[in-house]
């Protein structure tokens, strides 16, 4: 099963390779990984999309916690969360396709952020299914380049009761 794990780490050199090394060394999957500094510049926030059965995900969380540069680990699947991904899609557009490309972008509330006589570069944000959907529609026009950020995610704030709080994965 797919799990999204949010990891707060020290913002210093070599941390990314420690995380990547942990996943490769122990044979865990990484589907995507995104990382950037937090409000506190001494820390970075990572969102790792991984998969595995319950036992494997438990090990992933524990092994991440064991890394000395890891400050906090939250398995977002333990509660409700929202996730988004951004894709930049450079579409090849013949004259007769240009209107169609814009229509598709419009449907997905995507933006054209660069334009040449024969291409549009479209920026789209959403959940992975939305990204897949726009890619499917644009593909017949001819996609020249595609780059995706990988997902970022955050736990939803509870509406009422505190019981719905995302469970912090404490160090046992």
């Amino acid at each position: 099963m797919e799990h999204i794990i949010s990891v707060t780490v020290e913002n210093k050199f070599g941390v990314l390779s420690r995380i990547a090394g942990l996943f490769s060394g122990r044979g865990f999957n990484i589907e995507s990984l995104s990382v950037a500094p937090t409000l506190d510049p001494s820390m970075s926030q990572m969102t790792i999309v991984t998969s595995g059965d319950e036992r494997i995900v438990e090990q992933i969380v524990k092994q991440l916690n064991k890394l000395i540069d890891v400050i906090k680990v939250v398995d977002l699947n333990e509660s409700d969360f929202v996730s988004r991904e951004t894709a930049l899609i450079k579409v090849h557009t013949r004259q007769e396709d240009r209107a169609e490309a814009l229509r598709i972008a419009d449907i997905f509330r995507a933006n054209v952020i660069d334009s040449t006589p024969s291409t549009y570069t479209i920026e789209v944000t959403g959940d992975p299914r939305k990204i897949e959907a726009i890619i499917n529609l644009l593909q017949p026009l001819g996609i020249k380049e595609l780059t995706r950020t990988g997902r970022v995610a955050v736990a939803r704030e509870p509406l009422r009761s505190a019981a719905a709080q995302p469970k912090k994965v404490a160090r046992e």
Binding site: R55, Q59, R171
Partner: protein, 591 residues
Amino acid sequence: MKLTGAEIFIECLKREGVKTLFALPGGVVLKIFDMLHQQKDIDVILTRHEQGAGHMAEGYAKATGKAGVCLVTSGPGMTNVITALADAYMDSVPLVCFSGQVPTSLIGNDAFQEADNVGLSRPCTKYNFLVKDVNELASTIKEAFYIATTGRPGPVLVDIPKDVSMDKAEFTYPNSVSIRGYNPTYEGNKWQIKQAAEAIMKAKKPVLYVGGGVVFSGASQELIELAELTQIPVDMTLMGLGAFPGEHPLSMGMMGMHGTYQANMAVHYADLVVAIGARFDDRVTGKVSEFCPYAKIVHIDIDPTSIRKNIHVDIPIVGDCKAVLRELIQILKATVNGEQKELRKAWWDQIREWERAHPLTYQQEKDGPIKPQHVIKRLYELTKDRDPIVSTDVGQHQMWAAQYFKLAKPNRWLTSGGLGTMGFGFPAAMGAQAAFPGRLVLCVAGDGSVQMNMQEMATAVVSKLPVKIIVLNNRFHGMVRQWQDLFYEGRYASSYLDTTPDFVKLAEAYGARGLRASKVGDLDGILKEAIAANGPVIVDVPTHPYENVYPMIPAGGCNHEMILEDPPELKQKQTGAGKVVPEDKDTILTA
């Protein structure tokens, strides 16, 4: 006053109480060696190979419980010490390794003797540092010792570029360390401990499964108290040997692939297994899906990742063995009464029956080749009053030592368990000897493995480390040969060593003593002579080449399905009547 990086290094080591440094110099660490040369507080033991330095530091750490420290140069110095780091990582040995690095301005330029030390050691250290600024050197060293020795211990690498060792900075040594991402749990969850106590009270067929964590935690006294209080049999892993007295009536001896019959049967048929500082390694569990199939499992370990890594655990307790056992004993003291003994009478009857049915055994003929088990047994009986430290290499001799050398106390057993590093034993013994110059330190080795770090004999002679090496010389990589006999139809692919050096002459070539016991009748005398000798000694004992280690659980087999003796086709070899290999060269049985 400002100090150079090299001076800061030495000041930091002194403040950490480091008395012995195992080291080998090279270009980028010359400044540090130059400063070491001008001081007297830290004893520098010059090794002949960096791997030796690493294993010596491990032996020092295992015998003392404190961090072992080694210093190597960049590039090849670093790559040579990697094996020791990986070994220490697998066996949770507190180690601080300092490596030299090319000057910061050259890092990444493929400079002479440059290697990516931090990158190389990342998967085999608990943590590692590259010090880029001399102002950070002292705090980094403080953190390195803190990380190596706290929580689940492990090796830490500090990489020091040449310019950092020469630059100057104000020296202040921090009093304490705070790392926000690193807060090991020492106290166990009280509710969980209570659950464990209740499970222990109720169990009819309980077993304690004890690993190396008990040794590093210093929890032997607590373990003995717990076992005696509750009258539960104690199974030890290879790493746990010595944590519980080997001759104690509650001791089942070693468990696992070459564990005793009673230890493996007990854990298989138990209704409660309390794992303490152990990690359910495949050499212990065999086929993990059928490991202790009838038991509820309590697992006490300081490392949360050990829990439920290999096996489902019913009552997990994360914490330091010593702290958790204390708490557990306190609860049990209030509740244990005579009933448990009655409740478990049938269990003990069964265990004693297992013990009687298949004790550890071997046949030593009076005039026949010396049996390796006999050597260990005699060595044990001749030295046990002196409370020796025993190291081993890896292979058959290691298993026999584990079976027959019944250690009474912890920190006496230096062996490479997780990584299984041949060549570990001799340097590890030297490290322990450096920590305890007056103690008797024995190294049980095989003729194959001892050659892997033989160069350190020069270190032993020069640094006056009077380690006694007992080589069980069967001219084979014996464990490989055993597997080939059992699983590869006796095809000895690269396991017969053909020529081994004359170990007596080899010892003499280094300026040490060499002795040989060729006949059973000579054995005691030669062993006594070795033990009484002042300097390092190699005792070469030609042993029966086809002796196998039993019991044996084949890899992936179940714990109650042990091979207890040679199958009929191998028995011939035992008596010397069978085919011997290779025929034209065979002097094995007649030598």
